[in-house]
């Protein structure tokens, strides 16, 4: 098929369109920067609407991954998208999907965030791919991201394995022109039945599957060796001073420094397992190897393990490139041994400008109230969670004592209360509560833990831009269903004029020895303003 049409697309959008054109039946995802725009693009795409492709948000990454496995089971194609830490939430399903294998194609997008633009760590999802023994793709351009979707779904079905695509923030959130197919594939169905013997992972089946998955590994290595996305250049019989292994967008930063062409032997890696033959040929044609990879030293560690000790391997581990933070043209330049450019020194009159809760945001009133009551006790601890309200840790509130992972506010407050902490308060957003907070609340109810859980409900998944929240209109019912006593499920409207009522209720619930849930509920200012704007536009 011709790729004659060119569109200006974010990396995320290129992936989304590639998946639609590859004939998926649906996308399953929980919002998370920098992956959110993939699903949003599919939600808005006319062909996806016409085909009624599944694209509504899932409660969390694990439910998303599992639903996709169901799609695969019946022979259809599914895309799963998440930010890197979402891989931790769906790890049980993801790692075991390597064991079941795939019938209909399954492609999992993990969007890593080196430099932590919007995240709490720099974990590198390629480790998950290796761990689950599935092939990994890492595009170096928006065009590759698009082209790889068709390739990935075909590979997934042909080899009977899920495929992981690892991208980083700069790929997800950068725009470039992408040549796309004129026509999408029909929605694909393999027409094969899944064998329960592969999918019922009882030990006897799992042991057989484990052998099969291990036997698949040399096949996957050969595919990497022949992949159109991996290439070796300038490999010669001589001994160059340097050889380069450049992964994903790391390749671009190398080429940025050599506008007239790279003078060294170089292997571009965009598909794993590593193309070992290509890399051995590279190692034999140079005196030392520089590994340019975004994220953690995944390839560098493997090369050190594979190559005999006389080969010099440099990269993030050796210090040739920074151990943390994302790659950029300048740190790669230094890693390549090129002289730094003379630059303007940093300006004097610049101070940091951290993000903050919006003016008029309901979370602000919640923190005002919590801080007021917290100050009345000698040792209040407020355990935080992931979302806009994490900004309550910063001035002027400085209200939070922790923020670890999705849902940890409730369970940490519970553990602290178990160990004698009083008052022990959790604050969690509505979407985070349904994502991973509900199970922890059940633990607390069963143990009658002395905690106050504040579900700050702004009726949306705000941090990622206002996606639907799975529990909207259901929170009281969920809490009652989990066994919180009805008189200790309290709903308030977080507004300055209600401050006396809110602080009184917080005080009462702190004094109650058991599980209390307070639900301050007021719509997010961002979604509210968007709706008002829309209304005004419709009137005109």
């Amino acid at each position: 098929m011709e790729n004659s049409k060119k569109l200006l697309l974010l990396g995320d959008q290129a992936i989304a369109l590639g998946a639609i054109h590859a004939g998926i039946s649906g996308v399953y995802a929980y919002p998370g920067t920098p992956s959110t725009e993939i699903t949003e693009y599919i939600q808005e795409h006319p062909l996806a609407k016409e085909r009624k492709l599944h694209s509504s948000w899932c409660t969390n990454e694990k439910t998303a991954m599992e639903a996709a496995l169901g799609v695969s089971y019946v022979g259809k194609r599914a895309l799963v998208c998440m930010k890197h830490v979402g891989m931790n939430v769906c790890a049980d399903a993801f790692v075991n999907s390597g064991m079941t294998g795939a019938n209909g194609g399954v492609v999992v997008i993990a969007a890593d965030d080196p430099s932590m633009h919007s995240s709490q760590n720099e974990q590198d999802s390629r480790f998950y791919g290796k761990f689950a023994m599935v092939p990994i793709l890492e595009p170096s351009s928006q065009q590759e991201a698009y082209d790889m979707m068709q390739y990935a779904f075909e590979m997934s079905e042909r080899e009977g394995t899920p495929v992981l695509m690892r991208i980083t923030t700069r790929m997800a959130h950068s725009r470039a022109a992408v040549a796309v197919k004129d026509e999408a594939s029909e929605v694909v169905s393999t027409g094969r039945a899944s064998s329960p013997a592969n999918w019922v992972l009882l030990p006897a089946n799992a042991r057989r599957r484990n052998k099969e998955v291990i036997e698949l590994q040399p096949v996957l290595r050969k595919l990497s060796e022949e992949s159109p996305f991996n290439k070796a250049e300038n490999i010669s019989s001589g001994k160059a001073d340097l050889g380069i292994v450049a992964c994903g967008i790391g390749y671009n930063y190398v080429m940025e420094n050599y506008p007239d062409g790279c003078p060294y032997p170089i292997v571009k890696v965009s598909q794993y397992p590593l193309p070992a033959d290509k890399i051995i040929a590279l190692a034999n044609s140079c005196k030392e190897i520089l590994v340019v990879e975004d994220g953690q030293p995944f390839v560098e560690e493997q090369l050190r393990g594979v190559l005999p000790s006389q080969y010099v391997v440099k990269g993030r581990l050796s210090g040739a490139l920074p151990r943390t933070g994302e790659l950029n043209p300048d740190n790669v330049k230094s890693g390549l041994g090129l002289a730094a450019t003379e630059v303007y020194p940093s300006a004097q009159n610049v101070v940091p400008r951290p993000p903050a809760l919006c003016n008029g945001c309901g979370h602000r009133d919640v923190y005002d109230a919590l801080n007021k009551v917290a100050a009345e006790y000698a040792d209040t601890k407020i355990f935080g969670d992931i979302g806009c309200y994490t900004l309550g840790a910063l001035p002027p509130f400085r209200a939070l004592h922790s923020c670890v992972d999705m849902g940890a506010s409730i369970t940490m407050a519970k553990g602290a209360a178990d160990a004698g902490q009083f008052p022990s308060i959790a604050i969690i957003g509505d979407s985070t509560f349904t994502h991973s907070g509900m199970t922890g609340l059940l633990d607390a109810v069963n143990d009658k833990s002395n905690i106050v859980v504040v579900i700050s409900d702004n009726l949306t998944t705000a941090m990622t831009g206002g996606q639907d929240s799975a529990g909207t209109n259901k929170f009281e019912a969920i809490c009652l269903g989990l066994g919180v006593e009805p008189e200790h499920v309290r709903v308030v409207v977080p507004l300055p004029k209600n401050m006396d009522e809110i602080t009184r209720i917080i005080r009462e619930e702190i004094e109650y020895n058991g599980v209390s849930v307070i639900i301050p509920r007021r719509e997010c200012m961002q979604t509210l303003n968007r709706k008002l704007k829309q209304k005004r536009a419709e009137k005109q």
Binding site: T33, H117, S174, A176, P329, K333, A356, L357, L391, M463
Partner: protein, 193 residues
């Protein structure tokens, strides 16, 4: 020919709409383009920037190297200074002089402006005042784009003008007309400096 632009401002000010217009114009002019954006947490009133690269040759990196930017285009004066090491020695800063103070320790505005004005190629415009004067409070970013157009050699003024029409056409003729006016006001203001 290549032009590398750092767009900067505070989350919510609208730097991405400037990027969208330039991007549309660049694509229609047959140029290659890469544009790295910031989404997520920092959009809540934090410092935001976008790296916009235009070239008639293929572009490798999504990010602009140090001392590589031909222009820093900023909706806020302190935010223009933040990216100074990325400005080429002969590059231009085109910035709004209206400070956006959402932090308690914002430096003295006089010091910010003095440091900006100590640099060789700076155009600063009181965008807010110009927008108010002309009764177009929402058009600050397009006024700034107009000011930049006078220095963006890689794109024709007319192409940008057409792109404004394409981007805003869904919002009605009145909005297109107002943004065209905003663009011209910015252009004239910068050209007369």
């Amino acid at each position: 020919m290549k032009t590398d632009i750092i767009l900067s401002g505070v989350g919510g000010q609208g730097i991405l709409s400037i990027a969208t217009i330039i991007g549309e114009a660049a694509t229609r002019s047959g140029l290659n383009l890469k544009q790295a954006e910031v989404h997520g947490m920092s959009q809540r009133g934090g410092d935001v920037q976008s790296n916009l690269r235009l070239s008639d040759k293929p572009i490798a990196s999504d990010l602009i190297p140090l001392a590589g930017a031909d222009m820093i285009l900023s909706l806020e004066p302190m935010e223009a200074l933040r990216y100074l090491p990325y400005l080429a020695k002969d590059g231009w800063i085109i910035t709004s002089s209206t400070p956006f103070k959402n932090i308690p320790n914002y430096p003295e505005v006089e010091s910010v402006m003095a440091e900006l004005n100590s640099l060789p190629n700076v155009i600063s415009l009181d965008i807010d005042a110009v927008a108010k004067e002309n009764n177009m409070p929402k058009c600050g970013n397009v006024i700034l784009l107009g000011a930049a157009a006078a220095y963006l050699k890689i794109l024709d003024k007319e192409t940008l003008y057409d792109s404004i029409e394409r981007i805003f056409s869904s919002k009605g003729a009145a909005v297109v007309e107002m943004n065209h006016r905003a663009f011209n006001i910015g252009y004239e203001a910068a050209a007369s400096k």
